[in-house]
């Protein structure tokens, strides 16, 4: 087997030094009844690269890649162009095949990019500090709620109706254990509805903007209301590129920001791996989950970086840790950091403007279709349409025609009759005029 360097002779010589007469002897402690033969596994034997690559390429070809057709899905994951330099750099052996930087003297590469990543996240969100990533936006949101419960010593979390339903379910699953999770109605989903739910048992309010329908929400009034009652505001962002055009949560009074960083550097990946961005205020630092890279100096006085404040973490604190997370999204942080470094201030703002312009133009054209209404007055690169029929059937119909029209709201909220006809459409810099023409044409046909 090409990956295994030991030969028969090597194995014999090694057993000899060990003083065992067979490998079986090394498994002495395993109950005999529990040792099985190769034959019990209904699985194939070793295969060469050529065969494996052939089989898997054939399998992959059974999926329609987003880049291969007019594509408008968003709702928590966005198709963006990732510069070729990103994938080249993250595949450098020294980044790809290194472990968590527990030995800082030979891991400055990883530690410095994590420090740069933390800085970028803090800048984007307008917060004071950010960690070295969590799994993804949904788990980051859940960690945020747990953190708020710890800080306020209150049980209740209020989730806005516009919070991505998968995020809401993720929060309910973990934060519901020792606390209470309340979801505000999806529609109408006004700020008042959320504010009305805040009471003195409320640990936090979780608001997503742009929300799952693409609507841009003003966080300030909710933040003020929450703060007035001693609760924290957790702002959720699923499309990080939106912060190139919209006021950052930090400037709107958020105490914790949980975001999905997939849009930068990472790609669609059918849902994972993604990268959870997590930022907060300095005063909450010691309640923060996840790893932190910090600046220090070495014995020679040179600036360097280390993992720090690990007294918050499971490997030191065990059951008292601020989170159980260990492995996080390391390499995705790198991809994120490289992509954002390539964009820079100018490129990032341009990218945001290009996305909004593309989506606005498309929204106008689609809203012109008879029977189709735009239900999100404000949005970034994603908006929601009300169709004259169930959106799921329309999406299937267009898929047949080789167009991926977007996400039917019913895919996320199957029980909410009010959303049955809603279609969530995202448009980014990757959508061409031809893509948009195709969608407009096909949708007109489908609803005619």
């Amino acid at each position: 087997m090409r990956y295994l360097p030991l030969t028969k002779d090597d194995r014999a010589a090694m057993l000899n030094r060990i003083g065992a007469d067979s490998v079986d002897a090394l498994f002495r402690d395993v109950p005999h009844s529990a040792v099985v033969q190769r034959s019990v596994f209904d699985l194939p034997d070793t295969q060469g690269e050529l065969a494996v690559e052939r089989a898997l390429s054939k399998m992959a070809a059974k999926s329609k890649a987003a880049g291969s057709l007019p594509f408008f899905c968003g709702a928590g994951a966005y198709k963006h162009h990732v510069p070729s330099a990103v994938d080249h750099l993250i595949q450098r052996s020294e980044f790809l095949t290194s472990y968590t930087p527990y030995q800082p003297e030979i891991a400055q590469g990883t530690l410095q990019y994590l420090f740069e990543f933390q800085t970028q996240v803090a800048l984007l969100t307008g917060m004071e500090v950010a960690n070295a990533s969590l799994y993804d936006g949904s788990t980051a949101t859940a960690e945020g709620v747990l953190m708020a419960q710890r800080i306020t010593k209150r049980p209740k979390a209020i989730l806005s109706g516009g919070l991505h339903p998968h995020y809401a379910e993720t929060v309910e699953t973990v934060a519901g254990l020792s606390g209470v999770v309340k979801r505000a109605p999806v529609t109408p989903g006004k700020a008042e509805d959320i504010i009305a739910l805040i009471d003195d048992q409320t640990a936090c309010v979780v608001v997503q903007s742009p929300d799952v329908f693409g609507l841009i929400r003003n966080l300030k009034p909710i933040a003020d209301a929450a703060h007035a009652k001693g609760a924290l505001l957790i702002a959720v962002v699923t499309e990080i590129v939106s912060l190139g055009l919209i006021e950052p949560p930090g400037a709107q009074g958020a105490d914790i920001v949980a975001a999905e960083g997939q849009s930068l550097g990472v790609g669609l990946n059918f849902g994972g791996p993604y990268v959870g961005l997590f930022a907060t205020r300095e005063k909450f630092l010691r309640n923060m989950p996840g790893r932190l890279a910090g600046e220090t100096t070495d014995a020679a006085g040179k600036r360097g970086y280390v993992l720090t404040l690990s007294t918050r973490e499971q490997h030191i604190r065990r059951e008292k840790a601020t989170s159980n997370i260990c492995t996080n999204s390391g390499l995705c942080c790198l991809a994120f950091t490289i992509h954002l470094s390539l964009l820079g201030e100018e490129g990032f703002l341009r990218l945001a403007r290009a996305n909004h312009a593309r989506a606005s133009a498309l929204a106008d054209r689609l809203a012109d279709i008879k029977g189709v209404d735009l239900v999100t007055p404000s949005f970034f690169n994603e908006f929601t349409l009300k169709l004259p029929k169930t959106s799921a059937s329309v999406v299937d119909e267009l898929a047949e025609k080789g167009i991926v029209a977007g996400v039917p709201a019913s895919r996320l909220l199957p029980h909410d009759k009010d959303v049955r006809d809603l279609l969530i459409v995202a448009a980014t810099e990757t959508n061409t005029d031809e893509d948009c023409d195709a969608l407009v044409h096909a949708l007109s046909g489908a609803v005619a």
Partner: protein
């Protein structure tokens, strides 16, 4: 080899004052790297995006007012920055990486290539299901490998790493207990357990009850059985355990646990020692996460991402979280909501958005198909063989608390051989860096003093192991002989000398801040 005592620095902290300073600060191929924020200039960008006209009309009056504060660099500068950063890192590709419990095995390049196939990498989790059948097929193929190798009927694919898998497992157990109308709030965790075990139990709302270890590095089965009771929800055992030993009384413990109405959660981080040879299902395991980034070699990537699918026993299968992948005879379907769940499934909830780490799934599947069941079995045997070879080759000069062996895939040493030498476990490990090696795992597990846990994996040749053994033997002998110069203030030949972690924690600097601009936020 004799020591060059001019190599001894004046103080363990000081630099080798004999080094010649350079004008640039760089030293040959070693470049010092500024922070990206200290580079660049306004208006510059490494990505050409056409400028467009747009109005603020649809921004709800919330257009960003302040600049973000990102630096502007061209592509060549960005590439140079990150290439230079990479050159400050150690990696498996460049050398032996014996981190115990972390399983730093070879990461085949084919896996990277396959993971980038558009049909796996460029698909959206909410695309119409009929357009992602290829991706579903890959996930289902991986599920078959995992359930077959573990001898368990079901697997939950969404957990994003080992710790997340632990949480998934405990929540499944909690759901099963509640379904039985019971309340059990205690989880038994051995003192040798990895930190994520107790941490996860706490997150899942359980009380952690520690089970001691025996003299010989095993879980104290008697103590464990004594602790069993109606309030015990489960035990969380790592097997092979974190001392690198297989728990000989595992089945007995499993039976006792089941008899007490509790469940057996197994931390599968060390599955790589037994994969293809032992099926956890046959040991009575009810739930076990598998770190695809360990046993099945998806790259560690400097800390992640990973994937932690959880295999489940018959008893627990029904409570697996959403989403659930099913095949309805002619095509795959992902069940994303409870009421769509078929044949009695009662999902306890959702671990995360979407359906798991596809990018890791495709890599792990490629790894498994390449090895085959025979290759996976051989890999486990070679990993165990190599660890025992190291144990046998070092135990006379280093102290191995459980040295009579055999061990499984990792060899545990403690610091008693360094007693009186003035050399600490940390010094010893840092001196390995100068020798071109990444140190082993230190100070874990907590059950032995000054632990050094060495996991060679199956990826090292005998020549490589022999060289490693020679270096460690020589170091150990030097330390005992009082030749401690190479340990004092090591490393000396790395990009950095020892870093001051205390200072870092005392006054945390966690981000770059613009000199001129005020603190961000409100």
């Amino acid at each position: 080899m004799t020591m060059n005592n001019q190599g001894r620095p004046t103080s363990s902290g000081s630099v080798n004052e004999n080094e010649m300073p350079t004008i640039s600060g760089d030293r040959g191929l070693q470049h010092d790297v500024s922070l990206i924020f200290e580079l660049g200039r306004p208006g510059m960008t490494g990505v050409d995006i056409p400028e467009v006209q747009m109005s603020d009309a649809r921004l709800g009056g919330l257009r960003r007012k302040a600049p973000v504060g990102l630096p502007g660099l061209s592509e060549p500068e960005v590439i140079r920055h990150f290439v230079r950063l990479s050159q400050l890192n150690y990696s498996i590709d460049a050398g032996l990486y014996p981190l115990g419990s972390c399983t730093m095995k070879h990461n085949p390049r084919l896996n990277e290539k396959v993971a980038r196939l558009p049909g796996f990498a460029d698909v959206h989790p909410l695309q119409p299901q009929q357009t992602v059948q290829g991706a579903y097929e890959a996930i289902s193929a991986l599920m078959k490998w995992l359930t077959t190798l573990t001898g368990m009927p079901a697997v939950a694919m969404s957990p994003k790493a080992g710790a997340h898998g632990e949480l998934c497992g405990l929540l499944t157990i909690r759901a099963a207990i509640e379904a039985r109308g019971e309340k059990r709030n205690r989880i038994l965790v051995p003192s040798s357990a990895h930190g994520t075990n107790p941490a996860t139990a706490a997150v899942a709302g359980f009380i952690v009850d520690e089970v001691p270890a025996t003299e010989d590095g095993h879980v104290d089965a008697d103590a464990l059985e004594a602790k069993l009771g109606p309030d015990v929800a489960a035990i969380m055992l790592t097997n092979p355990n974190t001392c690198g030993l297989f728990e000989p009384r595992i089945k007995e413990m499993a039976d006792a646990v089941h008899a007490a109405g509790a469940y057996f959660y197994c931390d599968g981080a060390n599955f790589n020692a037994i994969a293809g040879r032992v099926r956890p299902g046959d040991l009575g395991v009810d739930a076990m996460h598998i770190n695809l980034h360990k046993t099945f070699s998806t790259p560690h990537g400097g800390g992640g991402p990973g994937a932690g699918p959880v295999v489940l026993s018959e008893r627990l299968a029904a409570y697996a979280p959403l989403p659930l992948l099913v095949h309805d005879g002619n095509e795959f379907r992902m069940i994303e909501h409870t009421d769509e769940a078929t044949d009695g499934a009662k999902p306890f909830g959702r671990m995360c958005a979407f359906h798991g780490q596809m990018g890791m799934f495709s890599r792990a599947l490629t790894y498994m198909m390449s090895h085959g069941a025979d290759g996976i079995r051989q890999a486990s045997e070679d990993a165990v063989l190599s660890a025992n070879y190291i144990l046998a080759s070092l135990k006379d000069v280093m102290s191995a608390p459980f040295g009579e062996g055999p061990c499984m895939h990792e060899a545990l040493f403690d610091d008693s051989f360094l007693e009186g030498t003035g050399v600490t476990t940390l010094d010893f490990a840092k001196a390995m860096i100068d020798e071109g090696y990444h140190p082993m795992t230190m100070y874990f597990p907590l059950v032995v003093h000054g632990a050094m846990l060495i996991e060679p994996t199956e990826s090292e040749s005998k020549e490589s192991l022999d060289r490693f053994i020679h270096v460690l033997r020589t170091m150990a002998l030097e330390a005992k002989a009082g030749q401690t110069a190479r340990f004092e203030g090591a490393p000396r030949l790395a990009p950095r000398r020892r870093l001051d972690e205390t200072a870092a924690a005392r006054k945390p600097i966690l981000r770059w801040k613009p000199k001129d601009l005020p603190q961000a936020a409100e």
